[in-house]
Subunit: 212 residues, 2 copies
Amino acid sequence: MLQLLQAEFADVTISKIRFLEAEGLVTPARTVSGYRKFAAADIERLRYVLAAQRDQYLPLRVIKEHLGAMERGLRPTPGGRPAAPENLPEPPGLPGAEDFGVYGTELKLTREELRAAAGITPELLDQLESHNLVVARGNHYDGDAILVARTAAEFAEYGIEPRHLRPFRTAADREVGLIEQVISQRRDDKTQELAALAVRLHAALVRSRLAR
Amino acid sequence: MLQLLQAEFADVTISKIRFLEAEGLVTPARTVSGYRKFAAADIERLRYVLAAQRDQYLPLRVIKEHLGAMERGLRPTPGGRPAAPENLPEPPGLPGAEDFGVYGTELKLTREELRAAAGITPELLDQLESHNLVVARGNHYDGDAILVARTAAEFAEYGIEPRHLRPFRTAADREVGLIEQVISQRRDDKTQELAALAVRLHAALVRSRLAR
DNA sequence: GCCGGACCTCAACCGCCGGTCGAGGGTTGA
DNA sequence: TCAACCCTCGACCGGCGGTTGAGGTCCGGC
């Protein structure tokens, strides 16, 4: 299992992993005799830590915070109040396609939680929904809805209203269509990669055309 | 002038600035008697350094590389070869709207330089140009063209060809139109902000819709 | 012309972060 | 039974990002 990670991250060692455990970044299960037993999820977590450290130069303290945020997004704080989204940290950086942070789609928010988390008025939320920029699934909204809503609110400060943003929705739908055509079998990793490419292309085009 | 920066970055001190100079991150001019003289550009540079350190947790070594890359983009290496774009560093992170890095639009590349930097075939570049995804201004291409071309190349590995990417161009054009409507007087900071918002909205929409 | 305060250099020092090392000891499987 | 792993725990370490202080220079005001 060490070998597994070493293929991807050259400088990982046993002692490093032990250190990361001591710092509370992973907590592998133990066998009766005290040996560490790494589940797939633990390895995933380690992969995230090592990647963040290598590619984003994040200090362990910050990586730990991110992991904490992700966890709270996934499990609504066992036995507590449903993890008031009021206290959502500011988007770590500004999330691009790679950075899932608290905006994973596994987050489930009520309408009111969404409204509060995004800091918008009910009216604005109505408008966003009527233009399909924010859509409920069943009874709740996902984490990306916060991001959409928050961004729309900032647009609003420039006098750009939800109805002006419809083309974004259309464009996004078309891109998703394109991606889905390509991915026949649901291999999530490829999907993510394509989505990241789409967002990157889009960003570069906007910036390039804006400069002209 | 120290006070100026301290307003924005609480923990900056004289000794810290001296240290940054020793590390080669700024090189203020000197008066005859040896006192440091900070030009506006120096302060801008310091601002960049401090922001990168505080907000992105980047180590000084990396910040220095970024600054170096930016410089080489702006001035084609006085008296040397035109700063072979072959050696362009991998995109620091993956550039979102905020991260200009080496992809500033001030970079000027010949067609061949662009091709090499993006690692694509001349044929692909032809296709990109015929669909207006990459456009020359005068005789050269800007830094974003690299990013567009590189991303298109990755799409190509999935069987998505330039002609499938036209909708991206259209969408980007529409967004730019929207932004330009709002910005009557060319205040660049606002323009950037709106562009960042556009890209963010777009990314969130794609991700959200993909998850359904 | 001289005093106080701000600036300079340079070397020494510092605290924290991210680990590594090794001693001493248990576990496992051939 | 023995080699090869695994464990813990404390000591140690190198580098990064500065800070401190001694010793000296520069400038404005009186």
